[in-house]
Amino acid sequence: MNPILLEAVLVCYAFLLLLVEAFNSRMPRRYFGWAAVVGTTVVFFMTFFVDSSKMNPEAGYYGFYAADTLAILFKRFILLVSVCVLIMAIEFAPVLVRYLPVEKPDAGSGEMYSLVLFACAGMMWMASAQNFVMIFVSVELVTITFYVMVAMMRGNRASLEAGIKFLILGAIATSLNVYGIAWIFGTLGTTELPEIGAILQSIDSSLFPSLLFGFGLIFAGISFKVAAFPFQFWVPDVYQGAPTPVTAFLSVGSKASAFVVLMRVLESMLSNSELSSKILFMLSLVAGVTILMGNLSAIPQTNFKRLLAYSSIAHAGYLLMGAASIVSGNSGPAIAYYLMAYLISNMLAFGVLLVVGKSTGSDELVHFNGLGKKSPWLATALTLAVLSLAGLPFTVGFFGKFFIFSSALQAQQFILVGIGILGIGCGFYYYLKVIRAMFWLPASKEQSISSPIEISKPYAVMLILLSISLIIFGVYPEPIFNLIP
């Protein structure tokens, strides 16, 4: 099967869902959610039947598209994220509907599911992009879809405000990115990444200023997507205001696909060691500041969603640390493993946050007080998730951090490793704050949940699967590691 069919099928299916949703007002909206889950799962299994002869880089697609093993791996990753997000969106629909200014009780929540599919297709294209034009268009498909999804709760001021902030800052990042691409084109005369790599091998150093300017602007655009230092200030506000499934999608899917783009751009530059050493120095600087900034600002937070936003900045810092040590050769697999670990633990954390937020009406940490007594299973799942995010041994997050740090040590980034260890120390403090709230602090009457939180069966299955894989891959990481090229 031709790999470009994967995205084509997904996008056509999303259009079909959107049309049926628009012309059929009687069907309950959650059916569309389940239809989207089925479609995404089918595309996930289609990735296992991709024709391997179409997967080598010589297959062509006019230099726009690559279906190498890295791309296929990330396509699977993104499809899994989308399935989780869709299930979360179905569970979240009652809350979403409450904030929609519409006459009929169920109307207006069905578009969310097709939007998730569009964003998923955009991320899959990002994983395959081999040309700056393709990178730009697929990144914009994802970003513009996210503008809609973040501002989806039109009756909720926080959501609208998050949407506006995301819109303006995202548009700035887009224009920086485009301006950078224009300069790279002007200097090298091409937008294809492999060709750029070939040209850079024998380039005159008098062109370095304009190249550095161009690549700097492109990395500024990417650092917006991954939530890294100079462009991280949108993250807390947007994460807090957006609907919880969208926040989860933004923190895992968007970040992962931006990292694939970052790795591909970096790889094309490695052919010129003088240029790449300058860029890698800049990246390690950004990584260090991002780790410190994310971890230190997470400490005083009292809102769990905002805390997760700062923790996602911190994780972007660790991932950038891996990217900055790309010369060690095994930072690619380390980043891929870290992203897998991040997928499992962050989805679990957001999954529990969603149901607690839904039943209490707020994401503040005080509403987690006494959760250990009321809903012990949910509390256990959240405990696992935050321990894995903190990087405790025997959870999947530990190996993620371990591989990143070992590749950074191989690249002799000692200062960065020191900053990273400091960050992990801070991390334990604020992640354990959540556990303290759940198991130690007593629940005051007006703040907390009176009865156990009820969740639907499929949602519970998702949480259980995530928890089990979190522990299994934390003890026995080979299965994931074997998948990574």
Binding site: E161, A162, S175, P236
Partner: protein, 114 residues
């Protein structure tokens, strides 16, 4: 005299790049200094068009096989399309905000803070 030589005689690549840089700078300043959301959005559009201008200039001054480089001109159409999509979504969100809060100023976006 053919067109390419004529363009070169009257204005060089540097001129175009300076204008595009000015456009970009003005756009960025508008985003950073102004307080009205619509003006911010106009600034962003200006930055995108600065990139378009430099792409066209690069395409003219780096000829491929005698003609202008077509790659960047095709890219330019993608940028115009994406910018149009962005404006459509952006203005819809701004209208929704105006309905909810009756405001167009960034200072009034203050419900999200810790």
């Amino acid at each position: 005299m053919d067109i390419a030589n004529f363009a070169e005689a009257s204005a060089t690549l540097g001129h175009y790049l300076i204008v595009s840089g000015l456009l970009f700078g003005i756009g960025l300043m508008a985003v950073l200094l102004r307080r009205n959301i619509i003006i911010l959005f106009m600034g962003v559009e200006m930055m995108l068009n600065a990139a378009n201008l430099s792409l066209v200039a690069f395409s003219r001054f780096h000829p491929v096989g005698g003609g202008p480089a077509v790659d960047s001109q095709v890219f330019l159409f993608f940028i115009i399309t994406v910018a149009a999509a962005e404006v459509a979504i952006g203005l819809a969100i701004i209208v929704a905000l105006y309905r909810a809060k009756q405001t167009m100023h960034v200072e009034d976006l203050d419900s999200l803070r810790f």
